[in-house]
């Protein structure tokens, strides 16, 4: 009997313990319990905010900040070969996967779909956003509209054509708009979440991009599409694919809706710091009493950014020194671009009335004296560059927050300057002051004199290096103005009404304190300071609305990562990014007469051609460019038509034999 009992006990032991092995993760949720409630969907949507801010998708500060374009200064480009791997390809797909997971789970959601509408809208937005990121760089790419498994055919499938991708992006964004909340209905704690207006503005950007691409890029005479089977992503157009006019019309419509909404007070151009508003807009940072600008206007006053990457010195620091790595290190500011800023009367620095004779804009004071060229100009010019006679408030130079200068005196835009005494005295305290003004000189070995020192993004305030945390603008109202104006002028074949200008870009110009653009203003006038990238010389060109709006775009969006894509969609990237580039004037300027007053060269001439020569020489031929330096030789600029599309990384082509390479790589 006992024996039997034991055997029974043993058998019982051996069975029925299956739940013993069912262990769920203790500190992590699992798929099983997730995507069940609206708030979980909202949390899942929060994970989709993968945007490049002060750092790119690869976590480094090497940004898309117009580095190496014509406005930022070029040193060399082109001639590269296809890379083995490229995070620009890999990362967006990992973000798209999460969007698709959310959308798939939303389809399975048993609750009321309106409860999760915002999250679903966010997923549609970001799926479109990431596909557009890929499209701008690579052209047509495989569309991922579902969550693939390792055996999914799309993983080993071919690329979709750019037209299929654009169609897909437009549809995603159109789907997103009605699902998203209006900006005015987003609670204060949720500010920064995707709004209807953000989606509309982004869709307008996509439509303008593609419309102008399809309008102008054929003119570069290079088959970027390929046949889709041996090279390129092919030409397949989905049925009902919009025409260029359709896209421009829709871009204008969405931009108009955003601008109209803005006018109700939802958004506005940030204008808190008088004539320096444009400059301070990009480094507003006010936590812990950190003085971000001389008007003490903090982040809460910024209603211009429609979508931004939000930073905080304690919670979410970008861990990058904006001062040294971005504003000074990476982002140049070319001489040609500097000269393209208008005078406050709304006209170029040199004009012509007959297309032949060249006259100085009466407001332009010339290059003779160091500071003259900065006077009476578009205030965005000195928002982007540092005038040589003004010291600036500066972030901490040393570690440990020992900041020497803060903009503590409200209302004062610049600190008081200090000048070294004459004659030279080695103990002059001016040599140790951070507010010292030195005479500009050309006393560096092989000077290039390529442009102006960049000021945009350069932070002021008490923060230590690496702790600058202004928000990064992804979409801002000023861009929507530009989209509206450009779409309109493209639809109008170069024509745009004063009304449309006032509705859009003239708002940007008002902040920059320059005269509104109107048909009358430029009528019959020539820009006598137009730099022709083909010949590498300044020419005289009839002023027109398209050029002026493109100029507005460059001046307003400098450094924000638009330039190369703009040049590409206008079909001129291979022109503007090639050829000889010129720098600033030396002859006929104060450089020829001034003496240095810094400790090293005190009393010596500011320019000593025998000792320190310009790297590539100085233009000696007569003409508008006489006496300026040559900064970049044509032989160093190899950007070609194939660069309109980046090469598909080679590893991906090896892993997926169906992937075709872009033409020319």
């Amino acid at each position: 009997m006992k024996k039997i009992f034991i055997y029974i006990a043993f058998v019982a032991l051996l069975c029925g313990c299956s739940d013993f092995l069912d262990r769920e993760p203790l500190s992590q949720g699992t798929e099983v319990i997730f995507y069940k409630t609206a708030s979980q969907f909202s949390q899942a949507a929060n994970s989709l905010y993968n945007l490049e801010g002060w750092k790119n998708y690869n976590g480094s500060y090497e940004l898309r900040i117009d580095q190496g374009t014509d406005i930022a200064g070029l040193s060399n480009n082109g001639g590269e070969s296809a890379p083995e791997t490229d995070f620009h390809w890999d990362k967006p797909y990992s973000y798209i996967r999460n969007c698709n997971i959310l959308l798939q789970k939303a389809a399975e959601y048993t609750g009321n779909q309106t409860d999760i509408a915002n999250s679903v809208g966010t997923a549609y937005f970001f799926r479109g956003y990431q596909h557009f990121y890929l499209l701008q760089r690579f052209g047509g790419v495989p569309i991922l509209d579902h969550v693939p498994d390792v055996n999914d055919p799309v993983i080993k499938g071919p690329r979709n054509s750019r037209y299929e991708v654009i169609n897909f992006i437009i549809n995603d964004l159109r789907a997103a708009i009605p699902l998203l909340p209006q900006e005015k209905n987003i609670a204060a704690n949720d500010k920064g979440k995707i709004s209807q207006e953000a989606a509309k503005a982004f869709l307008a950007r996509v439509l303008l991009f593609e419309a102008t691409w399809e309008k102008y890029v054929p003119s570069i005479s290079y088959d970027l599409d390929g046949d889709g089977t041996t090279v390129g992503a092919g030409l397949i157009k989905p049925s009902g694919y919009p025409t260029v006019t359709d896209m421009l019309t829709e871009a204008k419509k969405w931009a108009a809706e955003v601008i109209t909404e803005a006018e109700t007070g939802t958004f506005e151009l940030w204008n808190k710091c008088d004539t320096l508003s444009y400059y301070y807009l990009f480094n507003i940072d006010d936590k812990n009493g950190n003085v971000s600008n001389f008007m003490n206007a903090g982040k809460s006053t910024n209603k211009e950014f429609i979508l931004s990457v939000k930073y905080d010195p304690d919670l979410n620091s970008p861990s990058v020194s904006i001062t040294t790595d971005i504003a000074r290190g990476a982002l140049g500011f070319s001489a040609l671009f500097g000269e393209s800023f208008l005078c406050r009367n709304g006209l170029p620095i040199y004009i012509s009335r007959d297309g032949v004779s060249r006259e100085k804009n009466p407001q332009f004071l010339g290059f003779e004296h160091f500071c003259d060229e900065f006077r009476n100009r578009d205030y965005r010019f000195i928002g982007c560059t540092l005038p040589p006679d003004r010291p600036r408030w500066v972030g901490a130079a040393a570690a440990e927050n020992q900041n020497p200068r803060t903009s503590e005196s409200i209302g004062k835009a610049y600190p008081d300057p200090v000048y070294p005494k004459v004659p030279y005295n080695p103990n002059d305290p001016a040599f140790n002051s951070l507010n010292t003004i030195y005479t500009p000189t050309l006393l560096s070995v092989n000077f290039t004199h390529s442009g102006y020192m960049c000021r945009k993004f350069l932070p002021e305030g008490t923060r230590m290096l690496n702790k600058d945390t202004p928000d990064w603008p992804v979409i801002r109202l000023a861009e929507v103005h530009l989209i509206y104006a450009e779409a309109t002028v493209e639809l109008g074949n170069g024509q745009i009404s004063n009304q449309d200008l006032d509705f859009s870009v003239n708002k940007n110009r008002a902040r920059a304190r320059i005269a509104p653009l109107s048909n009358e203003l430029i009528s019959g006038l020539y820009d006598a300071n137009y730099f022709d990238h083909v010949t590498g010389r300044t020419i005289i060109k009839k002023m027109n609305m398209l050029d002026e709006i493109r100029r507005e775009r460059a001046c307003e969006l400098f450094g924000e990562g638009f330039r190369e894509n703009d040049l590409k969609r206008w079909g001129i990237a291979h022109v503007n990014l090639r050829g000889q580039k010129l720098g600033r004037f030396v002859y006929g300027t104060e450089y020829m007469t001034a003496t240095a007053n810094d400790a090293t060269y005190h009393g010596q001439p500011a320019y000593q051609p025998d000792r320190f020569q310009s790297k590539n020489g100085i233009i000696e031929e007569a003409g508008p460019d006489y006496g300026r330096t040559i900064t970049t030789l044509a032989s160093d600029l190899l950007y070609s038509q194939r660069n309109y599309l980046a090469p598909v990384p080679l590893t991906q082509i090896r892993l997926n034999k169906s992937l075709t390479q872009n033409p020319g790589w």
Partner: protein, 1108 residues
């Protein structure tokens, strides 16, 4: 689970019994000298009726017929027919045969004679007795054939130990064996926490017999059994020792003087290379010499305050080389520098350390109750002189057995162990970077700043705070065995339970370190503002088991035993980490605890937890025919919480057989042969490495996304599915074969064994890359293949000549690993160490260029360029060329004194295709060798351990002369470099006449018959000459006297008067001597790295063992 527990409780309650009485017999058992034997077992043969002898060696038993079997461990059993007798006097003879030794196997024990698998067992006494070393895993080095223990340091608590049984089984993980302490799975850390004195024995399951541990058995199993009470009077044993370190192999780091000499020679040769047209070398020494840090305006030198003169270049060099003490004021920052060039940082950092250990145990047993209680303490310090570095160990253990009734026996155990390791938070092993010309401390004893660079090793060590790692283990085990012989003869049932909790707390305190100049002006600091991290990890493990055991002989020849059981094991892990990064709360308050977190920013807290469980069925079945034919089957069915239901259950097994030839009749005629057995084992084991705890779940990754509209953001939780899951993943499965032979000759005075084994991992995890459009990284899959083959041989001789007992023996083994399959692998070797990437090669394969001496003239070098460098048109190098570009002058080019490479593939160019396989850096032919004797109270034991074959490629900045030009140098290179001229020693020159050298004393002589290239401070040139070249491959084989013990037992006649039954004093030494093939001055066990000043030490101990 609750279900399981209640059944186990029921089983326990089931167990009850009564016994029956018979006629009473009595007796006395003694050894040959007449001493009573306490605890000898007296059984009536074929029954469970028996007893044991008491403290006087007497016994009483109820029995009237049959045969008495009298046995005691270490003695030969005797059988005496009762035949009506009621009183017995029995004398047991000592058993010199090792075959009766009982070996711990998986879930049980077996006699060594009946083993059919490769299982080695070592007694705690043998491995740990009298060793100064207190770390179990280090002490096991060389002790067990096939168990490869490596360490990289002699720092107590930071030895960098790794342990492998028979080499690697996968490219994943470190192939560490499963460690079980009293049946509870543990870790290497737990093993090292044990007081070695508590260990009864350690058994190592090397082949597929480990399959009884299923999914975790692939790397073998190590079973540690602690001591239990033995029958007899209470024994109180104290053992204690005190140890001191003495210098072992020191890191070969130059003194300042040596460095200056090497520096001068290198700069001189570099100046010649830069100016080949100058042949008047006395000119070079002045005109073209680069004084680097001694140049005017550089970091050394400055103004002599008394005279206002500046000191730099040659005059500064001379003063430094002569070791003159100087005080100089640095230009620029006006810091006061104190030069004491004869200082040697190694002497300041390291000294001798004193350690001690004590343990006290009480043990004993009577008929029903046995106990062993112990307390241990050890304090082991490293040679680091300026800061605390070492470990303290505390342990307590109580093992008790209780025979509750005739049939029911309880065995319990409880232990508590604590190990506190303290190390400085930074700068351990540093001090090698810069030559140290200065005072170590400022005038008032503050930490002096070298090179204005915050690189003083002393600063970090003394002031930088500490890392305190505290391990605490509590383990309790209980087992109840019920003898069911009444029911079925030979049947018993047992249930066991164990609970273990392990806690690992790491406190990392990083203080701000302030540096000063000689006059106590603060210069720089590091680790500011200071941080405190508290990391607390906890593991709890519950193991339950129920087993049926059956053991019986039929017809005297059929010996059958069977074990059937099930076990459950669950382990939970939890971790909490909190960090304060903003320094002390207020100045001088110190960073003591995290209370201060409430204020301050930049703090962090995080944590996590997980758990896993196994449910397993285990069995072991043995059949033995007449002790001649042996068969064993071992099996385990493992169910794991880690895998999905589809993959959850898997079977592991081993089947083995043995043939004891010596028991065959036809072998009986050979008297000299006492034992000969051949055996074979095959099985499948599993590997757990690389399987996550929650494989089957797509877990949610959490994050934070920031929103808000103001000066402060609001972090909102963000959640997403983390990674992909794969239902096709399962355990790595290893097929294992072992063929062995055991032999004994001359009455087992000479005995040993040989094993050959092969292990193949057929489902090794490797990552498979998919196109990025997948959007996630796919999990590793079972698509790789790996194998390891090897052999082991042991041979021992043990004998006694009168009072002189001696033994001599050793073991040697080898294992070679090979990667068989790696999907998507390009399989092209790179110069240097190729880890886990070459198919058909060992895990870590070294590939180097072949060299053919040194260029003696420029003409030779130019001819070499013509032949191997230039392409056909002489317009550029040949494709793939790795030679430095030719030039008229300059340092990094082929020139006299540079290395000649060999075009092994004869393609007319020197490219990466010319490399060849130069060996792998795993240890091969590992051996241990023991010699011991006892004579009239004296005992002696020596243990040698080593590696017969291993190659290494030195890494780090000391791999070649001036591999890094800013560091101190490896002094083993001094005087060996090629030079076609003699270099005069500038120390004797008069700096006033700065136009020619006046010295007549050579700093270096002409030396062209050497394989060390010309000295240079050009890193690229030095890398070309040394990196991944055959000349840099070193043999790392060594033999080390791991332990030497000389002891004396005070005659009992004397000690008994003091109430002491045994008193032994001993001297022991660890790592006292070694022979090594390493040629660049490092310890052979140190490994391939070189950036370290921490020396190896030897340990001298004196100790005493007292038994009351």
């Amino acid at each position: 689970m609750r279900h399981l527990k209640s059944i186990l409780v029921c089983l326990l309650m089931l167990v009850s019994l009564t016994a029956f009485a018979q006629k009473r017999i009595t007796g006395f058992v003694s050894d040959a000298s007449g001493e009573p034997i306490i605890g000898a077992s007296i059984m009536v043969k074929g029954t469970s009726n028996g007893t044991i002898t008491d403290l006087n060696g007497s016994f009483a038993l109820n029995a009237d017929k049959g045969v008495l079997v009298v046995s005691y461990i270490g003695y030969k059993s005797q059988e005496l027919p009762i035949a009506g007798k009621t009183s017995f006097t029995i004398v047991l003879k000592e058993d010199t045969e090792v075959l009766d030794e009982v070996v711990v196997v998986g879930y049980g024990t077996a006699k060594k004679a009946s083993l059919t698998s490769a299982i080695s067992q070592i007694k705690g006494e043998e491995a740990f007795k009298d060793r100064g070393i207190n770390n179990v895993s280090v002490a096991l080095q060389g002790e067990i054939p096939g168990l490869i223990v490596t360490r990289s340091s002699t720092r107590p608590g930071s030895e960098g130990v790794s342990m492998k049984i028979r080499g690697d089984i996968s490219v994943n993980g470190n192939s560490s064996p499963l460690v079980l302490i009293d049946g509870v799975a543990g870790s290497l850390d737990e093993l090292n926490q044990l007081d070695p004195n508590d260990i009864e024995n350690i058994s190592v399951l090397k082949d597929a017999s480990a399959a009884i541990y299923g999914a975790r058995s692939a790397s073998g199993a190590m079973l540690v059994t602690t001591k239990r009470g033995k029958k007899g009077a209470p024994k109180v044993i104290y053992s204690g020792s005190i140890s001191t370190t003495i210098d072992g192999i020191q890191m070969p780091i130059t003194t300042n003087g040596q460095w200056l000499d090497m520096f001068y020679q290198a700069q001189f040769q570099d100046a010649r290379a830069d100016n080949p047209s100058i042949t008047d070398y006395s000119k070079i020494a002045y005109d073209k010499f680069n004084w680097w840090i001694m140049a005017s305006g550089s970091v050394l030198g400055g103004t002599i305050p008394e005279t206002g003169q500046t000191l730099f270049d040659l005059p500064l060099y001379q003063k430094l080389r002569k070791g003159e003490t100087m005080t100089l004021v640095r230009a620029g920052n006006n810091w006061v520098h104190r030069y004491e060039p004869n200082n040697y940082i190694i002497d300041e950092l390291y000294g001798q350390a004193v350690s001690q250990k004590h343990s006290l145990s009480i043990s004993g047993a009577d008929d029903k109750f046995s106990y062993m209680a112990s307390l241990g303490f050890a304090d082991n310090a490293s040679q680091l002189k300026v800061a605390e570095d070492g470990e303290k160990k505390y342990s307590g253990r109580l093992n008790m057995d209780y025979q509750a009734s005739k049939n029911l026996k309880f065995e319990t155990g409880m232990s508590y162990e604590m190990r506190n390791i303290t190390t400085p938070s930074t700068d351990v092993g540093t001090g090698w970077t810069d030559p140290w010309f200065w005072s170590f401390y400022s005038q008032t004893g503050n930490v002096y700043d070298t090179f204005d660079g915050k690189r003083s090793a002393l600063g970090g060590l003394i002031e930088g705070g500490q890392v305190k790692t505290d391990f605490t283990t509590f383990r309790s085990t209980m087992k109840a065995t019920y003898d069911l012989s009444d029911l079925t003869k030979g049947l018993s049932v047992s249930v066991s339970g164990a609970y273990k909790t392990v806690q690992k707390n790491i406190q990392t305190l990083k203080n701000k370190v302030q540096y000063y100049d000689y006059n106590d002006n603060p210069t720089g600091n590091k680790q500011g503002p200071g941080s405190l991290t508290e990391q607390m990890s906890k593991w709890t493990n519950t193991t339950l088991g129920a087993f049926l055991n059956y053991e019986r002989s039929f017809l005297d020849v059929h010996n059958v035993s069977a074990m059937l059981g099930m076990t459950s094991e669950e382990e939970a892990y939890k971790n909490v980490t909190a960090t304060r990064k903003s320094g002390p709360l207020y100045e001088e308050s110190g960073l003591i605890d995290l209370d201060a977190m409430i204020s301050g920013t930049n703090n962090e807290a995080n944590g996590g937890q997980n758990e896993w469980a196994f449910l397993s069925y285990v069995t072991r079945l043995n059949y033995d025919y007449d002790h001649r034919y042996l068969i064993e089957f071992v099996g385990r069915r493992d169910g794991s919480s880690k895998l999905s239901v589809n993959q959850r259950w898997k079977n592991f097994f081993s089947i083995s057989g043995g043939w004891v030839l010596s028991n065959e009749k036809f072998m009986k005629e050979f008297d000299w042969l006492s034992n000969l057995k051949i055996r074979y084992n095959y099985g499948k084991t599993g590997n757990v490495e690389g399987i996550g705890n929650y494989e089957r779940f797509a877990t949610i990754s959490t994050g934070t996304t920031f929103f808000g509209n103001g000066s402060t953001l609001i972090g909102q939780p963000s959640l997403s599915l983390g990674g992909m899951t794969s239902d096709s993943r399962t355990w790595e499965t290893i097929n294992s074969y072992d063929a062995g032979i055991d032999f004994g000759f001359l009455n087992n005075k000479l005995y040993g064994s040989f094993d050959y084994f092969k292990k193949t991992n057929n489902g090794m995890f490797i990552p498979v890359t998919y196109p990025a459009t997948l959007g996630a990284s796919a999990p590793k899959t079972n698509n790789g293949k790996f194998n390891a083959k090897g052999w082991e041989f042991t041979l021992n001789w043990k004998d006694q000549i009168g009072d002189f007992k001696y033994n001599i023996g050793g073991s040697i083994g080898d294992v070679k690993s090979k990667i068989i399959t790696l999907e998507n692998n390009e399989n092209v070797p790179n110069p240097g160490i190729n880890s886990n990437r070459l198919v058909g090669m060992p895990r870590n394969s070294i590939y180097v260029y072949e060299t053919a001496g040194i260029f003696q003239t420029q003409a030779e070098a130019d001819a070499f360029y013509a032949k191997y460098y230039w392409n056909e048109n002489h317009t550029g190098p040949k494709p793939g060329n790795i030679l430095p570009a030719p030039a008229e002058k300059g340092q990094n080019r082929l020139r006299p004194g540079a290395r000649i490479l060999v075009d092994r593939d004869n393609d007319g160019a020197i490219t990466t295709k010319d490399i060849y396989f130069a060996g792998d850096n795993d240890p091969h032919l590992t051996f241990g060798f023991k010699l011991g004797f006892e004579y009239k109270g004296f005992d002696f034991q020596a243990f040698l351990q080593g590696v017969g074959k291993q190659v290494i490629l030195r890494q780090g900045n000391f791999r070649a002369p001036f591999a890094a030009n800013y560091t101190l140098q490896n002094n083993s290179f001094i005087g060996k470099s090629w030079s076609d001229i003699a270099i005069l020693d500038p120390i004797y020159d008069d700096p006033a006449t700065r136009d020619k050298v006046e010295s007549t004393v050579n700093l270096a002589n002409i030396n062209t018959n050497t394989n060390y290239t010309i000295l240079s401070r050009n890193n690229a040139f030095n890398s070309f000459n040394y990196d991944n070249k055959d000349v840099s491959v070193q043999k790392s084989s060594y033999m080390r006297l791991k332990s030497l013990v000389i002891g004396y037992t005070i005659p009992r006649a004397i000690t008994t008067k003091a109430g002491i039954s045994n008193l032994r004093v001993y001297f022991s030494g660890d790592d006292l001597w070694e022979w090594t093939k390493i040629k660049d001055g490092y310890d052979p066990e140190y490994g391939e790295q070189s950036n370290n000043t921490f020396p190896f030490s030897r340990l001298l101990s004196v100790g005493v063992n007292i038994t009351f």
